[in-house]
Symmetry: C2
Subunit: 224 residues, 2 copies
């Protein structure tokens, strides 16, 4: 069906995931590869957003994508087809999140020697991925309008942990009962440093703002 | 803010959750209380669906609701206000699912002596709740149209485990690229015995069909 490389990862044996994640961040810094961890509920639009974002960034960075899923290769195939960048599928053996050791296995699988920006699309889940530092230098979560503006109240940790909250499917706000201002206030209550950008991956609205955020963030990271 | 009872449950100490779940099912059968486990992604519409369904069933059954969440009481308050039935909030101490022991603690907290139908609204998550039998006699999952028709491909276990798949927000199908027939086929591939009912909790479409499903299922359960 496709020539997408698929690797299967298992729960890591490391006792201290935080230590492992810090070591991975250091390793990636030395190699000049910026790793982004992308989290959301199932169906919030991670793959569609990633496709739009990669197409806006691929002339600036050498990009790779690791698509983590419990099963299926549909996302890695879709990313490869719609962006042309190097993409692999990670199967998590039923696990509901990736930890730093599993992420390192994925990075070894994709071969980062020619990449300076790698996206990890985490398993669709608002609970477990927030508990495990993957070693990424940027944590992003996508909340989509149809999910409702109360999600920052109900899933506190993921909003506390992320640097950027993308609010996707903003083009449907007229249909759903979603109070943007209230949502923004609740996110800020959880995490006053979070950047919030509304987008529509479908129409392209807001993608340029996310692109500018990336360029600035990666420049700052290089200078640190 | 409200007089909703909140209990906090912790990971159970039982080594064998399946045994514990079977024992709970037996205990509930003896007492004539039918327990329903309701699962979905965050924001698929569990609480709105439950509200519509309870209002259609509350003249037939004596209903109670246990709302499980990592944090916040918004769902239990909303259910109590919009249906008038007995409702408690279960906080999961950060856990991403409920097991049979946690469910039993919830049932003790709500007091089932005057109830013959109890709903457990599980934590919003398509991965972990599927791995733990709660002791319910009916497992329902809600998939909402904005999440996409590929979810049964990507989250196989939850579709395998449930008896009824409710496809919610069907009123938005014209806006989202959701192929109902393809989704139905993929669900049947995972679980040929699953019943699939499209609804809109917002407009009321399909709620009567779910009501009839409940009446039939509970009648069969009583006769077993």
């Amino acid at each position: 069906m496709s020539d997408i490389k698929t690797i299967t990862v298992n729960r890591s044996a490391y006792a201290d995931n935080d230590l492992e994640a810090d070591a991975l961040r250091e390793y990636l810094k030395e190699r000049g590869t910026f790793l982004v961890n992308l989290m959301s509920s199932p169906g919030a639009g991670k793959t569609t957003t990633l496709t739009a974002l990669i197409n806006s960034l691929k002339d600036i960075y050498r990009i790779g994508v690791m698509e983590a899923d419990i099963d299926s290769d549909v996302d890695a195939i879709s990313i490869a087809k719609n962006t042309g960048v190097k993409s692999i599928q990670i199967h998590t053996s039923g696990m509901c999140h990736l930890d730093a050791g599993m992420t390192k296995s994925g990075l070894d699988g994709i071969d980062i020697s020619d990449l300076n920006l790698v996206f990890l699309e985490n398993v669709g889940n608002l609970v477990c991925p927030a508990e495990f530092d993957t070693g990424a230098s940027l944590d992003i979560m996508i909340l989509s309008v149809p999910e409702g503006d109360d999600k920052p109240l109900k899933y506190p940790l993921i909003f506390q942990k992320c640097d950027l909250v993308i609010i996707n499917k903003i083009d449907t706000i007229g249909y759903f009962n979603f109070d943007f201002k209230k949502c923004e206030e609740t996110i800020k209550m959880r995490n006053k440093n979070a950047t919030i950008i509304p987008i529509s991956a479908k129409t392209g609205q807001g993608i340029d703002q996310v692109k500018q955020y990336f360029i600035k963030t990666i420049t700052n990271w290089k200078e640190k």
